[in-house]
Amino acid sequence: MKKIIGLFIPGILIFLSSCTKSVDVELPEYTPKICIDARIEQNGKPLVFITKNAPYFGSFDFNNLSNFLVTNAFVTINDGITIDTLTHLGFGFYTGNLTGIVNRYYTLNVVAEGKTYFGSTRIPPPVPLDSIWFKAQETLDSLGFVWAILSDPPGQGQNYRWFAKRLNKDADFIPPLGSVFDDKFIDGQTFDFAYNRGIAPNSSAPDDLNQERGYFKVEDTIAVKFTTIDRDAYIFFRGYETALFSDGNPFAAPTSIKSNLYPQNEVLGVFVGYGVWIDTLISRR
């Protein structure tokens, strides 16, 4: 739905922009903040990536990139039973020993550069997809999307996130734009839907730049990770995807994405728990 509204925006832009020129913009001052991208998956270990925000017009190269990675933070996760202290793997990534358990609450605590930040999440029970399959698009021979049937449990307020990975082609699971949705309109219903292939950030793979961009191909082996997340994490990712999608669109409201970490005005990012269901399919004609 967002996609539809968003798609006509470029039209208006083309229609209306008669004169575009580069300008120097003096942006208001920015406040350096810590950004925490943290998650814990069912049956997985916690993974926390801590960085700092960077001024919009700053110059970047690999040399000063390390200025924005936070490598000396003190990170703990409390699952109500134990407190696990995470170790730094390198490049701002931290991991620990806890394993994600369904229905458990986790509290993240980060002390970085003298300040303390915290947030909590829960791993909701996963909801399996009834079936998944590949279907080529009508006009294309070997390219298409992955389809699925979902039966949403009635009344419980599920929030979903979809990931997919092509074995042997993708390093990790990739969420396409629009990967998060909730059950407001589909509560208790069984229905089918499809997703296109997400693009890894900064991908320079040929099939992300040519006509195969966004499509799965026949003979791909595709793993689908269908997850459930809690409400606050859903609100974060929904805002995050809206921001990515409407980047540059003047008709969108510039909003701050609502983080589930505290103190709210001083930290960026999210701590999300995923309930996980995975299945694999081989795409056939």
Binding site: F8, L27, L244, S256
Partner: protein, 821 residues
């Protein structure tokens, strides 16, 4: 405190009236009647009837009716109205007299005409502050944007009225939002007065007779909005002869027909306008472009009928219908969207004279605004729609007991039906359950009384009180939510059952104190309640903006405005100057919550998406006008601040409103070079709009996400622009007419007369004029919005972010040919 003021005003009233009645017994008689324009029979609202002997006058109401009650005797009446020739009429008053008068257009008799005027020396003498009257015929000489003369664009050249910038619908008055302006067309509310994001207004200049703008002390007969009233009257239609006029421009054309159905008794006017699809779309789309089929066009139609039943009764029927349609086609994606939106209004009005002193107008009005978006992509179809519909009945009476008082009183009732954004969607055969279509209903009523009271020769007071009441009624379903935001339960209200009720008094008072013959001091206080709200999702006003009623969650907006002003005329009223200073506070302002999405409205109460706060604005407006002479025009300068404070926005810190505009300058000049040519130059300057821009970015899942700075903490570069125009009135005199003119000279007293006046002529002469305009003459790239383009990437270590500014209008010349016959 408000109650105290209202009680005080009530007491004030009764004392003043009573005081006046206690005079020694003298026989009193009333002179009353209608004042019209001679050539067309159109009523002249606001004409001045002044009695020389007692140095008092009265102003005709919006139907041209006046009434003045005096002791028996001999008097001289001076009738005047801006742009028309004055008349002196000696009266022997020994019985009640019905005196209908007509005034001649001053242009015909060689007088100069103002563009924006007030009644003769009304600048100093009137109690209203911040009231402007706009002469529609004269704004046709101002530079026209794309060839279209525009009322909304003209009022934005006045101090205190700010345009929202190129391409933004709406205008802002003294720091108030675009929903705080009451826009009336023949008493029907127009909810979206703009075509295409504010490029053009919905008002066709050929169909409009009079435009009154009130930004200061709003009199008690108006209500429902905090900031201003734009009261537009349509022409009634020439009831003496047929006239056809129109114009062909490079972007739009218009055509108007008016004339009598029965001479001097009834008449009609029909006026239409349309843009050309091609002109707007073609430069942007080549034939083989995947975007071909994309187009935009608008049209509007104004119609009016009027019938003079008798000397005491008149009937008027007017209607407006307008549409904008935008179609976007992307064949590559198999995607098409169609977006129609527009207003339709209708009003039936009955003027009735009970007696010489009591005038009544009763109106039945219908107003409707709808917006729709239909999008299809292969098998997926989506439809979004919203709107507002009003059924309105009102009664307004004017009572002229004696020359010191003019009392207005009346009542107004509106039944609103709101359709906040509703959506339907289907994918192939599957219909998505987006909930039932939600409509909201409300009763909106008010009663008022006000008096224009000449307390002494120096002091005049306009005091009024309005009492308004608003009730939201069912059918309505209120969802009860838990802390997670999930819907637990709902409360259902039956049809007509009260959901919530609001109301309160709105005192209005303004005072004028004459200091010297040509200067005065004015002060005013008004309190306004506004029960309906326009919520805008984006930083740019769009037709998607949705009207909402006050509900259990949305309280009525409350505005208090305090203003003082000093008015001074120079050189026998040739120069008018004024300085007005105001302070306004606004409570219960509405904004969308941060992170709100359009789909939140679906299957939920839309008012859950809003958050509330307060606003305040203050400023000073300086105005200098030269009214007469070959060279005339005005300069307006406004210095103002407007701020908002919302607990849930910007972390509760106060922030400037989007249209907080520190400096706003307008210079409008016209030069009547000779009988053929008039030149006009307009220059505007404004501090840039405020915007929220990204100040930093951060990484989530390897993607760069923009982090925005404090709300409205960035200022665009100042906006300024020069427009020039030249209007040519060629002589279109054919050989036959030369003979006619020789005949005229024998039959008329003044030198130049319209040839149509000679009834024995068979051939009509067509009047034409050419308007050549250049909009944005020095081609300044005024910012419309700024976006950022990234190149390279963090991972490759060569990330570059550049800012790009998009401007809407480069230099735009246009030519319009106007005709009238």
């Amino acid at each position: 405190m408000v109650r105290t003021i209202s009680c005080f005003l009530g007491l004030f009233f009764s004392l003043s009236l009573w005081g006046q009645e206690k005079k020694p017994d003298a026989k009193k008689f009333t002179i009353s009647g209608y004042i019209k324009e001679e050539s067309s029979g159109e009523a002249l609202l606001g004409a001045n009837v002044y009695v020389l002997e007692i140095k008092k006058g009265v102003i005709a109401n919006q139907y041209g009716f006046y009434s003045i009650t005096l002791d028996e005797g001999n008097y001289t009446l001076l009738i005047s109205f801006i742009g028309y020739e004055d008349r002196n009429i000696p009266i022997k008053l020994d019985k009640d007299i019905r005196l209908n008068l007509s005034l001649k257009d001053a242009a015909i008799v060689g007088g100069e005409v103002e563009i924006v005027g007030e009644k003769v020396d009304q600048n100093v003498k009137g109690t209203e502050m911040g009231t402007f009257n706009i002469q529609v015929e004269q704004i046709k000489t101002l530079p026209a944007f794309m060839g279209e003369v525009d009322i909304l664009k003209t009022i934005q050249l006045l101090p205190g009225i700010q345009s929202a910038g190129d391409g933004n619908a709406g205008f802002y008055v003294r720091g108030g939002g675009p929903d705080q302006n009451l826009i009336l067309l023949d008493e029907a509310v127009v909810y979206n007065a703009s075509h295409l994001f504010g490029f053009f207004s919905v008002f066709n200049g050929d169909a409009v007779k009079d435009v009154n703008l009130i930004k200061g002390s709003m009199p008690a007969q108006y209500g429902g909005r905090l900031s201003s009233v734009l009261d537009i009257s349509m022409k009634e239609g020439n009831n003496k002869k047929y006239i056809m006029e129109g114009g062909i421009g490079n972007v739009a054309s218009r055509f108007t027909v008016q004339g009598p159905i029965k001479v001097d008794t009834s008449s009609f006017i029909i006026s239409g306008r349309r843009t050309y699809i091609d002109v707007l779309a073609k430069p942007f789309f080549k034939k083989d472009s995947p975007f071909s089929g994309t187009r935009y066009y608008f049209y509007d139609l104004n119609t009016k009928l009027n019938y003079r039943i008798s000397d005491k009764d008149r009937l008027f029927l007017s209607g407006y219908f307008g549409r904008d349609i935008f179609v976007f086609n992307d064949k590559n994606l198999g995607f098409k969207t169609e977006i129609p939106w527009g207003n339709s209004t209708g009003s039936l009005r009955w003027n009735h004279l009970f007696n010489d002193k009591l005038f009544m107008n009763t109106s039945l009005i219908f107003s409707n605004y709808t917006f729709e978006l239909r999008a299809t992509q292969s098998q997926f179809e989506f439809r979004l729609f919203s709107g507002i519909r009003d059924f309105n009945g009102k009664v307004d009476l004017t009572y002229f007991p004696n020359p010191n008082h003019k009392i207005n009183f009346g009542s107004n009732y509106i039944f609103h039906t709101f359709t906040p954004t509703n959506a339907t969607a289907r994918s192939g055969e599957v219909e998505f359950n987006l909930g039932d279509v939600v409509k909201l209903y409300a009763h909106d009523a008010a009663i008022y009384v006000s008096d224009d009271w000449e307390v002494t020769d120096l002091i005049k007071i306009n005091a009024g009180i309005r009492y308004s009441n608003f009730t939201q009624v069912g059918p309505f379903k209120r969802y009860i939510k838990d802390q997670q935001g999930k819907i637990m339960d709902s409360v259902e209200y039956r049809r007509g059952e009260k959901v919530i009720n609001y109301g309160g008094p709105e005192p209005r008072i303004s005072m004028r104190w004459i200091l010297t013959e040509n200067s005065s001091f004015k002060a005013g206080y008004t309190r306004n309640l506004q029960y309906i709200h326009l919520a805008s999702l984006s930083s740019v006003s769009l037709p998607t903006d949705v009207w909402m009623p006050s509900t259990e969650l949305i309280k009525p907006q409350i505005g208090n405005q305090y203003a003082v002003g000093y008015f001074r005329n120079f050189r026998k009223d040739m120069f008018e100057t004024s300085l007005e200073v105001y302070y306004k506070d606004m409570k219960n302002q509405v904004e969308y919550k941060e992170g709100a999405q359009p789909e939140d409205n679906v299957k939920d109460n839309p008012d859950n998406s809003f958050t509330f706060g307060n606003g305040w604005s203050y400023g000073a407006e300086l105005f200098l006008k030269k009214r007469y002479g070959k060279f005339h025009g005005w300069i307006g300068y406004t210095l103002s601040w407007t701020y908002r404070e919302f607990p849930e926005i910007n972390f509760g810190k106060e922030f400037p409103a989007k249209y907080d505009r520190r400096h706003d300058v307008s210079v409008v000049t016209s030069y009547d070079y000779n009988k053929k040519w008039t030149f006009s130059v307009v220059w505007v300057y404004a501090t840039g709009n405020a915007a929220t821009l990204p100040v930093a970015f951060y990484l989530i899942e390897g993607n760069m996400v923009s982090e925005f700075g404090e709300r409205n903490s960035y200022r665009f570069k100042p906006y300024h622009r020069l427009d020039v125009s030249a209007t040519l009135y060629p002589d279109h005199v054919k050989k036959e007419n030369r003979k006619k003119r020789r005949l005229e000279k024998r039959y008329t007293k003044k030198g130049k007369t319209l040839t149509e006046e000679i009834w024995f002529q068979k051939k009509k002469v067509m009047e034409t004029s050419w308007n050549f305009s250049v909009f944005n003459a020095y081609n300044r790239y005024n910012p419309y919005f700024i976006y950022f383009e990234t190149s390279g990437s963090i991972y490759e270590g060569n990330l570059q972010i550049g800012a790009k500014q998009v401007s809407l209008f480069p230099i735009l010349p246009s030519v319009t040919w106007n005709f009238k016959f």
